[in-house]
Every structure is written in C-alpha cells, then in structure tokens.
Amino acid sequence: MTVNVSVTVNGMRHEISGVEPRLLLSDFLRDTLGLTGTHVGCEHGVCGACTVLMDGHSVRSCLTLAVQANGSEITTVEGLGTPETLNVLQTQFREHHGLQCGFCTPGMLMTGEDLLRKYPLATDEEIREGLSGNLCRCTGYQNIVAAIRSAAALRRENA
C-alpha cells in the first residue's frame, strides 16, 4: 500500500503520492524532497542529528513516519537562514566556533531553536540538559553551549 503525503516544508507546500507508510520522515526529507541538510546518524533516536521542527516542536525525523507529517509544517535546517542571511543562532554558532565536522550541527541548531522558544536558558546547566539528546563527537560541547548561551542572551536583550 502507498499513501499521499501533503506537507509544508520550510514554507513550501509538497503533495507527494505513492509514499510507502514505512518511509521515515528523515528519508522522505532527504531522498524524496532532496533536502539533505537533515543528517541521518544512528537512525534509532539516540544521536539527534536528524532533528527537525514539526509544527514548531523539535522531533527526531528518524522516529517519525513521513505519513505522520501529513498536514503538518516542517522546518529543516535549510529553513533557518540562507548563507548570506544566517539567523541569530546560526550566527552565534559561527561566532563561537560551535561546530567542527558539522555532522551534528543541523540537529544541534534545530534543538537549539526549540530550546530558545521553550526555556529561559539562564544557566549552562539548563542548556546542557536541553542538549542531552544530541551527540557531538568533535567539539566537547563547550562551544555549542557558548553559542546557545550567546543566542539566549541576545534574545533577552532584544525582548
């Protein structure tokens, strides 16, 4: 059996027919829509690299079926900013050297976006708790925490 999936990704509407229900949202985004910014790491919900926003909330796209995204709005890392106009969090990742190899970065950014919306992020402990579901093998997390700390401070200044 196949199903139709109608989904808005980064503001653009897609109507895709012939989708197998077992297709994961991560593979749908990458293979069907060609949005390879979403990275696939462990494919069982441990590493957080495939995190995207679904109706404004971060979800692991490897633990969500594409058919479950039917009717929803998805934001991937491609939807945050462009190379010329990075958003606030992306800018802070660049300023603080919050990435090395970059594999975990899309997941870190999408998780960071959700954290900035939901929590005050007044302490590093809170930021680290928030990032506990995202693995990075390069940075030791220090600069990722610094980038999010800085983005939270900028948000407070602008509030």
């Binding site: 059996m1 199903v3 197998e20 229900p21 077992r22 297709l23 994961l24 593979d27 494919e43 069982h44 919900g45 957080g48 995190t51 679904m54 909330h57 971060s58 979800v59 692991r60 490897c62 633990l63 969500t64 079926l65 058919v67 479950q68 998780t111 959700d114 954290l115 939901k118 680290r128 708790e129 928030g130 506990s132 579901g133 995202n134």
Partner: protein, 289 residues
C-alpha cells in the same frame, strides 16, 4: 527505508482502533508517540502486519481536573504534561519528574499512554502512576474497564492488557501533602534512571500524618513502598529520621546488576537519594528538585 512493510491504518476513534486491532488478529501494533516503537521497527525487532496510528484520535489528548483527581488523556504528550500549570499545582512531583523524561525531542512526541503501556521499569511516568496510585481506563472489544497501576505493571516491559485493549485515560488522585521531592540519578541527563525516588508527606502536629514513597530502577516494575510509608507515620520526626528512612528503603529493594550498575550500587544509591529526599521534604514545603 528501515522498518519492514506494514499496513497503515489511522482510525478516528477509539472504537475504530479497537476494531482494527481485532481485525489484525494479533498482528496489529498501536502507534502513539512512537519514541519506543519506531526504534524497534527500524531495527526490525518488531514487524507488525498492521500499524494502528492513534494520533488522529484528538479526544485522547487532554489534561483536566475531575473532582479530587487530575485525569490525563492517553495521547497527551510529555511536553504538555511538563508545561501544564494544572499538573504543576496539583501533581507537583509529576511536574518535577517530567524534565527527567528522555530528551526534548522525545518529550515533544512521546505520550503518557504509550509510556505506561511500554512499562519500562526505569521510566518516570510508570513510576508516577505507582506513586499517585493512578487508575487506568482501557477500552477493548468488551467495552471499558479500570485497572489500578499496581495491577497494570506485570514485569519489565510487560503490562496486563489484553491484545485488543487500548489505554484511554489515566486518573491521578491528588494527595493532600505539603512536602515533596523527586530525586533521580542517570548516567547522562535524560537517560533511563539508575535509581530514582519520589517522596511526599503531610506533616501533622507531632509527626508525619500521611506519606507516599515510590522508587524505580531497582526492580522489574516501578515500586510503591507502602511498608516504608507506614513506618514513616509511626515515628516522631527527629534528626535520625532520614537515616532510618534510608535503611528502610534499602532493605525493601533487591535490585539486579546489569551493564550500567551493580545491584549493590543501585541499592546504595537509592538509599542516599532517599535520605536526601526526606531531609528536603521535611525542611521545605513544596521544594522542587
């Protein structure tokens, strides 16, 4: 594509979901938040013929005050419980436990009905169901019935449901307590607990009038320690009370060893958490940990 092929059905009502399960003849599997099921599907450790997606059944998603209880719909997400003012004011221990439930993205999808049904012995919501003496309403081909949490959790990852039964809502009676603590230690924040304890008490003139104690990570199911609760109410409050409590808690569990920690360590850890928890519960009213 990682999961094996399945037929996908998204019923709009609990009645329809039960019918779909019946028609699947034991080959059906319920999909709620999917945060435990999808890894099993991706590994092909679970290969259901029919996947019954409950996410379209909107009436299963609510948190409401009903008499002296808070009732939570089975499809309510962890995130909604974590940020609910009603839960924070009436079930503060659950509110405190929620930020320990997995990670942000998991809490955004995971549901209370799914977590209880999955029955992981080191998960916070099954422990909270035991702690609050929750009652689960489930629906099957024969209609609805209510199951006490202590009867619901049979073994690790095993509940008492019949194959065609679905958890519909969970009732949490509100305890009239004034001091409470939730303590947990995990290897990494958000991971399953090595050990955890929840304590809440109501202080009277001379001692503790009513107590509630639950633990997890130390047995095949979450535990409510009713003997320890009774003993807390039988003695006067003094400086030795937390130490005695620590010993009672330790002597009432016999955890197994596994990859993550030895049984001896878990028992020691639980006692320490118990000692800390009671000190805090006695010292402060409504302290949040």
């Amino acid at each position: 594509m990682k999961p094996a092929r399945f037929e996908y059905v998204a019923p709009a009502s609990v009645d329809a979901a039960v019918e779909t399960l019946l028609a699947a003849n034991g080959e059906g599997k319920l999909l709620a938040g999917g945060q435990s099921l999808l890894p099993l599907l991706n590994f092909r450790m679970a290969r259901p013929a029919v996947l019954v997606d409950l996410n379209g059944i909107k009436e299963l998603s609510f948190i409401e005050l009903r008499g002296e209880s808070v009732v939570i719909g089975a499809l309510t997400r962890h995130r909604e419980i974590e940020h609910s003012p009603l839960i924070a004011s009436r079930l503060p221990v659950m509110s405190a436990a929620m930020r320990h439930v997995a990670h942000l993205a998991i809490r955004n999808r995971g549901t209370i009905g799914g977590s209880l049904s999955h029955a992981d012995p080191a998960a916070e919501l099954p422990m909270m169901a035991m702690f609050y003496a929750a009652r689960l309403t489930v629906q099957g081909p024969a209609g609805r019935r209510t199951i006490a949490a202590k009867d619901f959790f049979v073994d690790a990852l095993t509940n008492c449901l019949e194959p065609e039964e679905i958890v519909v809502e969970i009732e949490f009676p509100i305890p009239q307590h004034d001091g409470w603590v939730f303590e947990e230690v995990a290897r990494r924040f958000g991971d399953f607990a090595l050990a955890s304890i929840a304590v809440s008490i109501r202080r009277g003139q001379s001692g503790i009038e009513d107590a509630r104690v639950a633990a997890m990570g130390v047995a095949d199911t979450p535990l409510r320690l009713e003997d320890v609760e009774r003993r807390l109410c039988e003695i006067e409050i003094d400086v030795r009370m937390p130490d005695r409590f620590c010993e009672w808690v330790r002597s009432s569990v016999s955890p197994n060893s596994d990859l993550h920690a030895s049984g001896e360590y878990r028992k020691h850890l639980l006692g320490e958490l118990a000692r800390r928890a009671l000190k805090t519960a006695l010292a402060a009213k409504g302290d949040r940990r």
